[in-house]
Symmetry: C2
Subunit: 176 residues, 2 copies
DNA sequence: GTGAACATGTAAATTGTTACATGATTAC
DNA sequence: GTAATCATGTAACAATTTACATGTTCAC
């Protein structure tokens, strides 16, 4: 899902500003997509140009804030995108990349990388658990439970094998 | 990890052609990174220009094949990259995106998406299990076991809740 | 008053995908 | 002979990150 579709997705639940979209994408969609502000604003410009979203009148004149609303045409486009989705997931994991090459790294860096990963996983767990599950659709809850299941598996694995691997890598290095 | 570093990573284990790199990245690194041919060839050109890799003499003259080898400078650069890695992982999951918006989709598409996801997970499991674990370093084995743990959790979740969610979404839709 | 968070936008640079274009080798 | 796989490379296009540039509002 690209940034344009991510924006349409958030807006399908309610109006938002560009800045608000960044928060929403991070908070609600963090487990399946991400977008930075520098990508969101141009995306909103394109969506406006193609009539998929529109700006609604600004109540607060002092604060320069534009609030966007999805149009019927935008909803149709969102539906279109959804029907052509695939089950392929892409993962970019600097953590695993590092460990794959742990034999080339300082032990301190390996250690730091593992600590950071555990912290990330716990943060992700916290984020997912803080989402308002009761107000969500079945599908939304499903994705959160799915993400929680894999996150929990990651944490469990790190707790089970994290400490041991550090000493194992260290031992292995001595023997090489 | 960008494509350049991915290429250096493969080459740190042995010489390879551009085409061979694509296979290796897919087969060994599929759980933490990916690269297409259209990205690999330009990356190799840049790495050659900066002296991080070099072409070695071609045995077979009829087949237009260039074999690359990492240089000492390339190994140093790889080490540099590795020491600045972070624990943050980015996931792009059209599958979860789709389910998050399942209330806007055709039931057929939801069904297909789930089938595709399970097939992907099983394929990933097969790939990971077919890797030559005994010939690997501790760190490499760790990443594979980690990836297998999260993949297994995904499969288990789908088996446990996959069928139920389809009927739940359908029921929910009727009630809206 | 000061720092965090809110708020918008642009631009350079990089990065990457997909498709195009071409041809050899291998296994059936 | 024909399909799959091996093999290289370019180019158009799309997408994205990071940094720059600016200003407001809110809570302490």
């Amino acid at each position: 899902m690209d940034v344009r579709t991510l924006c349409l997705g958030v807006l399908s639940f309610g109006d938002s500003s560009g800045y608000g979209l960044r928060r929403s994408i991070k908070d609600w969609f963090g487990h399946f997509g991400q977008a930075s502000l520098g990508a969101i604003y141009p995306a909103l410009a394109k969506l406006t140009a193609s009539g998929e979203i529109e700006t609604i009148d600004n109540v607060n004149a002092s604060l320069e804030k534009r609030v966007f609303r999805i149009t019927e045409s935008g909803r149709a486009k969102l539906r279109d995108h959804l029907s052509s989705l695939s089950g392929q997931e892409t993962v970019r994991s600097p953590f695993m990349a590092g460990l794959f090459f742990a034999h080339l790294m300082d032990m301190d860096d390996v250690h730091r990388l593992m600590d950071e990963r555990v912290a990330e996983l716990r943060g992700e767990q916290r984020r997912l658990r803080s989402l308002p599950m009761t107000e969500m659709t079945e599908g939304q809850r499903f994705t959160i439970r799915y993400a929680l299941a894999t996150t929990a598996a990651g944490i469990a694995f790190m707790e089970r094998e994290g400490r041991a691997i550090i000493t194992a890598i260290d031992r292995e290095r001595d023997s090489l």
